[in-house]
């Protein structure tokens, strides 16, 4: 079993009011010096079988059609824990 992580973030040009709300709260809590915060989503996929090129291509397709809406979001795929390695 291997773990593949898909990170989804709003595109840089899209306003992220959730991130802004978090950023505005930081000085109140005593955390200074953070100029900007953007909030995204992280999907952790436990994959059966080997994470080979074909499996990664399927996950890429999954991210592109379903996990992210590419009209507004970018995504990255990376293998975090390859079984047996």
């Amino acid at each position: 079993m291997a773990r593949v992580v898909v990170d989804v973030m709003l595109k840089p040009e899209i306003l992220d009011p959730q991130g802004q709300a978090v950023q505005r709260a930081l000085p109140r809590l005593g955390f200074e010096g953070i100029r900007d915060v953007r909030q995204g989503k992280r999907f952790e996929l436990e994959v059966e079988g080997p994470v080979d090129d074909a499996a990664l291509a399927r996950i890429h397709e999954m991210a592109e059609t379903f996990l992210a809406n590419t009209v507004i979001e970018d995504f990255t795929v990376h293998v975090e824990d390859r079984a047996g390695s």
């Binding site: 709003l10 306003l15 009011p17 959730q18 809406n69 009209v71 507004i72």
Partner: protein, 251 residues
């Protein structure tokens, strides 16, 4: 004193009796399917309930995707319902000209299917907004808006948290140039009550249409403004349902 229940509302409305069948889809989490069915009947058409698992549209003449929180909106609003069996058929037939109206969550589903461009995001205020909303009808030539006039101002309820319409500048310019911004939030001087843009939608867009004019989506809820006794106390929303009925009867 007796009150007519939705189930017994006759199929003859302001436009007279009709055999026109308008499907209303229910997904898990849909809230406004019954109100939408009622609006369809009040306009004079037959409301046909459709279930998200059915691929068959039961030979309806048009489809409404009502408001609510389909599949809990867990991934993104409308993202999971977009892959339901019924939507496979809706997407295919909408491309072939079937009239489709998406209200609120239904609008979100239509952007997720890419039948309509752009996407819906969390309101700029981050608050759930629920109020009567003034709109201007910009395009009275779609399948769902012919009973309005371009420039007409209407008031219908609005209730959403994911109502911020976004698209890139090129898409927005294209929508404007082709007259595909169907409705805008009224933000002029006559809305000193603060009922301007409720969610940060780009260019105050409340609703859009596809190129052919058969697919329309909007965030506010016309189905909640079809009887004088409830909602806004006005019937400004009934025009959506009478428009489509006339179009189908005259087709």
């Amino acid at each position: 004193m007796t009150h007519p229940s939705p189930a017994t509302t006759p199929a003859g409305g302001p436009s007279g009796r009709s055999n026109t069948r308008i499907g209303v889809i229910t997904f898990p989490g849909t809230l406004d399917d019954r109100d939408t069915q009622r609006a369809v009947r009040l306009a004079g058409a037959e409301a046909v309930p459709l279930w998200h698992r059915d691929k068959d549209l039961k030979q309806v003449d048009a489809v409404v995707l009502p408001g609510g929180f389909s599949y809990g909106d867990y991934l993104r609003a409308g993202a999971i319902s977009r892959f339901s069996p019924v939507m496979e058929t809706v997407i295919e037939q909408a491309r072939a000209g079937l009239p489709v109206l998406g209200i609120c969550n239904g609008f979100q589903v239509l952007t997720e299917t890419h039948l309509l461009p752009g996407a819906m995001l969390r309101n700029e205020s981050l608050h759930f907004v629920c109020r009567d909303q003034k709109l201007r009808v910009e395009n009275a030539g779609t399948a769902w808006t012919t009973d309005y006039t371009a420039g007409q101002e209407i008031s219908v309820p609005l209730k959403n948290i994911d109502g911020r319409y976004v698209a890139d500048e090129r898409t927005l310019d294209m929508l404007e140039a082709e007259g595909r911004v169907a409705f805008r939030y009224l933000t002029g001087g006559d809305t000193a009550d603060g009922y301007g843009n409720p969610n940060g939608s780009l260019r105050d867009i409340a609703g859009i249409t596809n190129e052919a004019g058969n697919v329309v989506g909007l965030m506010p809820h016309p189905e909640h403004a079809v009887e004088p006794l409830i909602g806004t106390g006005r019937t400004d929303g009934l025009g959506f349902f009478t428009s489509i009925l006339k179009k189908l009867v005259n087709a």
